[in-house]
């Protein structure tokens, strides 16, 4: 299976440097609203990274549901949004089982793995997010655990 970012909520300290790094890298600004990775915090106990599994733990619902086919499995590991083609219908946001597609200026936005060198992972010395290959089971367990902890459906 292709490499993807795997969350380790039991290690995440909740500092949110990953969110800042992500928006800085992709948008040249700092804004958690424009980050493709989000930390869900609940009380003192939970800090949960939420990030796209790149189809490794889902059925690529976003790709399926997009009415204009602007979400594509591109060369390399990532599923990417072609922003110019997006109509802002939010069908993918509703369809994503991990709730890791967001809207930005009426265009869908998701993790593109920074062309194979994700900046959020570089910013996290705790190794609470790792860019990992894997055969499925262990990574899938972590994605599903994060989803359950964050309270996603």
């Amino acid at each position: 299976m292709a490499k993807a970012i795997v969350p380790f909520p039991e290690i995440c300290t909740g500092c949110r440097l990953c969110e800042m790094a992500c928006s800085l890298k992709h948008e040249n600004v700092l804004n958690a609203e424009k980050s493709r990775i989000r930390i869900v915090k609940k009380g003192v106990r939970l800090d949960v990274p939420i990030v796209c599994t790149q189809g490794n733990a889902c059925e690529q619902e976003c790709v399926e549901v997009c009415p204009v086919d602007c979400i594509k499995v591109v060369e390399g590991p990532a599923i990417e949004v072609v922003e110019e083609e997006c109509t802002g219908c939010e069908a993918c946001v509703d369809a994503c089982p991990f709730q890791c597609i967001w809207m930005k200026d009426e265009v869908a936005m998701k993790c593109d793995l920074c062309q194979g060198d994700p900046v959020c992972v570089k910013f996290c010395p705790q190794q609470a997010i790792l860019y990992l290959e894997g055969s499925g089971d262990e990574r899938e367990k972590k994605w599903k655990e994060a989803k359950a902890l964050a309270g996603g459906e």
Binding site: G14, L30, N31, V44, F123
Partner: protein, 609 residues
């Protein structure tokens, strides 16, 4: 202006007037942000010589310049007001995400004055600013308040007070994200204004001057921090990592209300003992890659279910060693009570240690203490007293005034057991064996404080920044040392950077970061000059509020009683040493011997008017 939200938000809770004004380019250039803005605004906006609980006393919240810009450890925000504990500078810095959120909403400072007729909370959502009813929230503890506001307002960041702030406990703090502005009683000022919380939601972009350079610098700083030799121990054991060392190697861990410098019963409060047993994971402040916090969880026994972000070094001292309490679970429980009630753990622990000392010396009785047996090490009594202080019940009502006022109220010779400087209870460094730190306690504009210099780091290890071979037991050369450390360290509060990363940036490390964030160029000298200005402005404020040379005095326990055992056995700070160090310091500052900045110095700093 790159690097800034751009506006100052003024809120008068009495008249409900809300106004904004732009941050001028001069202010940005000369004060940068954070404590720089906050101290300038406090000086300009406060009505001189009013009580801290007077509605006119401004409560100012100002994010450090780097808040929100992904600078490692750069998430610190300052609350600044006239302190109800000391009557002096009440500035306290916390690591909470509300600072960055405020910048995203477009503000670099909030100035809150007046008193609301009824309990309220301030809601800031970008341009919308509203005072909302907090009748239902009044009386609630911190976690419940945060939960209720979030369920009402959605994704907001919340800074709030607990019952201690409402009850005007003079060392009540403000909480955000399980971190606290603890010292100096800003939480009580919030309470006096009937202000339960500040909730902020900001959605705007922060646009750095040079995004590519900023990204590169921040990746490098993260790498430098995480590859440093101390990283593993610092993050595994937190700020208390050196607790055993400061006891066994230095003998300067103030114990049982400063009777001793070594805590014999420290085994369990040493993080090397408790971290492996109780820490479930590391916890960091917003924007920090070097997590000192621990998710401390007690799973069974009488405190089962306890979960806190702790226990910090100072709290291991104040609720632990100072009270002679070596039972780490009860220290954690005390930490939880302080956080939930919204009280500074340092002052709370110190004032209980003071009461225990009075009890053992027969000055207060079991009856005075509401039936509690207040011997050192009595953890049940300690926890009961914490609740009583927060609720101002019985003896707790007296202790809620802080050590200085409590001693005045109790009388009967209790003053000789009262450990404070300028009305502020001390942190966990027995300065009888750390002479430079004794001077730092004296010179700080908020009283006994370790964080206005971080001199303990230099004095205990002998080296830091440009200094080396410093002798902690000597009073020579301390005037210039403390002056220079104050001017460096205040810049961490201006920029919003944590002092746990003090060994990385210094002044020179900030140059490129400021440039990438704002586009402005500063030399190292200019950065330190801003630090000197802010410190002089703080001094002008406390002088205006009535502080005099007479207030520069160490407690009798420090000047009159030597440390009885351990590596610092026999040491104390004599009155002569104290006055010599102070004289050297005033000279180094360019102040006269009454601690008043000379006209020449003020002209040099552009603070003449």
């Amino acid at each position: 202006m790159k690097g800034y939200g751009g506006k100052i938000l003024n809120v008068d809770l009495g008249s409900r007037d809300v106004t904004t004004e732009p941050v001028s380019t001069e202010m940005a250039r000369e004060y940068l942000g954070g404590s720089g803005f906050a101290v300038r605004l406090l000086f300009d906006r406060s009505v001189p010589n009013k009580d801290a609980f007077d509605p006119s006393n401004p409560l100012i919240m100002a994010p450090g310049l780097f808040n929100g810009y992904s600078v490692p450890t750069g998430g610190k925000v300052v609350f600044c007001t006239k302190s109800p504990l000391t009557g002096l500078m009440g500035d306290s810095v916390m690591g909470g995400s509300i600072g960055a959120e405020l910048k995203h909403a477009g503000y670099d400072a909030v100035v809150i004055t007046g008193r609301a007729p009824n309990p309220c909370y301030l809601l800031v959502k970008d341009d919308e600013v509203e005072m909302k009813d907090a009748g239902d929230l009044w009386g609630l503890d911190v976690p419940t308040t945060v939960e209720k506001i979030k369920s009402e307002e959605g994704n907001v960041r919340v800074a709030c007070i607990g019952p201690a702030g409402e009850n005007l406990v003079r060392f009540a703090g403000i909480d955000c994200d399980d971190r606290q502005s603890g010292r100096a009683g800003a939480g009580a000022v919030m309470g006096s204004k009937n202000l339960k919380a500040i909730a902020v939601r900001g959605t705007r972009d922060l646009v750095p001057h040079d995004p590519t350079a900023l990204m590169k610098l921040n990746v490098e700083w993260v790498r430098k921090m995480s590859e440093s030799p101390d990283y593993e121990a610092d993050t595994k054991y937190g700020t208390g990592e050196f607790l055993d060392w400061i006891n066994s190697e230095k003998g300067t861990f103030p114990t049982r209300n400063w009777r001793e410098g070594v805590f014999d019963n420290r085994k369990e409060i040493d993080p090397y003992y408790w971290a492996p047993r109780y820490s479930k994971k590391n916890k960091a402040c917003f924007s920090c890659p070097k997590p000192c916090g621990k998710l401390f969880v007690i799973e069974s026994g009488k405190y089962a279910g306890l979960a806190i972000d702790g226990i910090e070094y100072e709290t291991l001292y104040s609720l632990g060693g100072a009270c002679g309490n070596g039972d780490v679970e009860s220290v954690a429980k005390g930490n939880e009570i302080c956080d939930a009630m919204g009280m500074d753990t340092i002052s709370a622990g110190d004032v209980i240690a003071f009461a225990m000392d009075l009890y053992e010396n027969g000055i207060i009785s079991k009856e005075d203490a509401g039936g509690l047996e207040l011997e050192f090490g009595g953890s049940e009594a300690e926890l009961a007293l914490l609740e009583m202080i927060a609720k101002r019940e019985g003896l707790g009502d007296v202790l809620a005034e802080g050590v200085k006022r409590a001693a005045e109220k109790i009388g009967k010779g209790s003053e000789k057991y009262a450990v404070h400087v300028k009305g502020m209870e001390p942190p966990a460094y027995d300065v009888r064996g750390i002479k430079g730190m004794a001077l730092a306690f004296l010179t700080s504009t908020r009283g006994a404080c370790h964080l206005r210099t971080c001199a303990y780091a230099l004095e205990l290890t002998g080296k830091f920044w440009k200094y080396q071979d410093v002798d902690r037991l000597s009073s020579e050369g301390k005037g210039i040392e403390i002056k220079e450390l104050e001017d460096l360290v205040v810049m961490y509060d201006v920029l919003g950077v944590c002092k746990f990363s003090r060994g990385f940036f210094f002044a020179s490390g900030f140059i490129e970061l400021i440039k990438a964030t704002t586009g402005s160029s500063y030399s190292e000298e200019e950065i330190l000059w801003i630090g000197e200005r802010v410190n002089n402005l703080k001094q002008l404020f406390v002088l205006r509020e009535g502080m005099t040379r007479e207030d520069y005095v160490l407690p009798e326990k420090i000047t009159g009683v030597p440390i009885p055992e351990g590596e610092s056995k026999g040491h104390l700070v004599t009155i002569e040493e104290m006055n010599k160090m102070l004289g050297d310091y005033f000279d180094a500052r360019g102040w006269d011997q009454n601690a008043i900045p000379t006209n020449k110095k003020l002209e040099e700093l552009g603070l003449k008017d």
